[in-house]
Symmetry: C2
Subunit: 257 residues, 2 copies
Amino acid sequence: MKNSNRPLIFVTNDDSLHAKGIASLVAVAQEFGNVVVIAPDKPQSGMGHAITISHPLRLFRSEIFDGIESYSCSGTPVDCVKLAVYEVLHRKPDLILSGINHGLNSSTNVLYSGTMSAAVEGAMEHIPSIGFSYGDFDPDADFSASMHVAKQLIPQILTHGLPQGVCLNVNIPKGPLEALKGMEVCRQAYAFWEDRFDKRIDQFGRPYYWLTGTFDSREDATDTDLYFLDQGFATIVPTQFDLTAHQTITGLKKIFK
Amino acid sequence: MKNSNRPLIFVTNDDSLHAKGIASLVAVAQEFGNVVVIAPDKPQSGMGHAITISHPLRLFRSEIFDGIESYSCSGTPVDCVKLAVYEVLHRKPDLILSGINHGLNSSTNVLYSGTMSAAVEGAMEHIPSIGFSYGDFDPDADFSASMHVAKQLIPQILTHGLPQGVCLNVNIPKGPLEALKGMEVCRQAYAFWEDRFDKRIDQFGRPYYWLTGTFDSREDATDTDLYFLDQGFATIVPTQFDLTAHQTITGLKKIFK
């Protein structure tokens, strides 16, 4: 039931309005506030911070979640945040939740992640924002551990807020709730994809390529999200949109003067 | 003419292989090395760090630049970098150049920019990488000032390299070469879009939306790219892919323990 004293919580994701992950997140969010949902009408994984500027956006009302104002959007997760603030809510929500993603967005995967880009866009709008990702790509993944983490974090963020310009990248390791060791605030690991392309030939004899690869080129460190996920902890990485490598400015000024 | 002792320079952009900006950058790059080009087959502005994973990529040889091995790609700028390293060059080039973008990518626009995401992807591959953007959206913009800046920077980066995990976001203010005051290494400004949607009705009576807005919500500071661009300088922002807000970890540990 809507109550104007309850926080306004906006929910989005990148796996589309039809994913089990967003249904799980909406179920948790409802306990803490009035929920409005705008999510992509099709999977938008890997869309990063993309916005739709070369063609128009579509937004259609959906009845997918009982009693929850919901919309499907033809655009990206970042488009969904912008449409929420400026076209649907006509105000900034008190909290943005993105996910729960089917698959981790730890380490440098944050850059490719539509789920996390929605949270980063929220931070740019000065709205407390959290992206949740779970270590299982299965469409029917068991989100109980992720929902437990969300239930702990959401009231804390509603109470304390977040530092200006910062959102949270929350990743939950695959496994049942009982196996979860706890939560750790930590940094993004320095690790990378070893990309490969699967080259195939179409019915006209022309080549096409599927992006594939392995994510295993990583540093040996004990203070990163990859380390703590391996140890069975949910990880919380405070994530910012200031990409400036401040520590290099003084040195580079000497070269470029 | 190809010379195996010359540096291998990979060039891409987000305005497509047919943009004047990339032709200008290829012309400069040729002076310093052997050039290979892969660029999107259509404009990919605003694609951020998107990658193509839900459908296959196409890559076709192009003869658009005399004597330069060039390809058009159906994907994003980041796809172009990955295809270059892993499918076309089969090695890491000595330098990645992206642009010259038609329009600035200063301040938080770096997050939405396909041009800059290609450079960030280069940094993730440990390849010295520079994104160039010019303050004029005109398809026939005068890139002489930008080409002058590129001619200065390219040999310096080939000589000195860049700090690990850092690429350069170079923006050149609109105007003739004679008006350019110089170059400044500085930080990304804290400024944001005030988004708006232009809502229209299609021939079936259904709404559609164009993302629009103004970029004018900015801090009052004298050490940022927006400040120096206004003063007539080209700006060089060292840009990293570590999004961790390191300065907030200690404080957040107290909340989430």
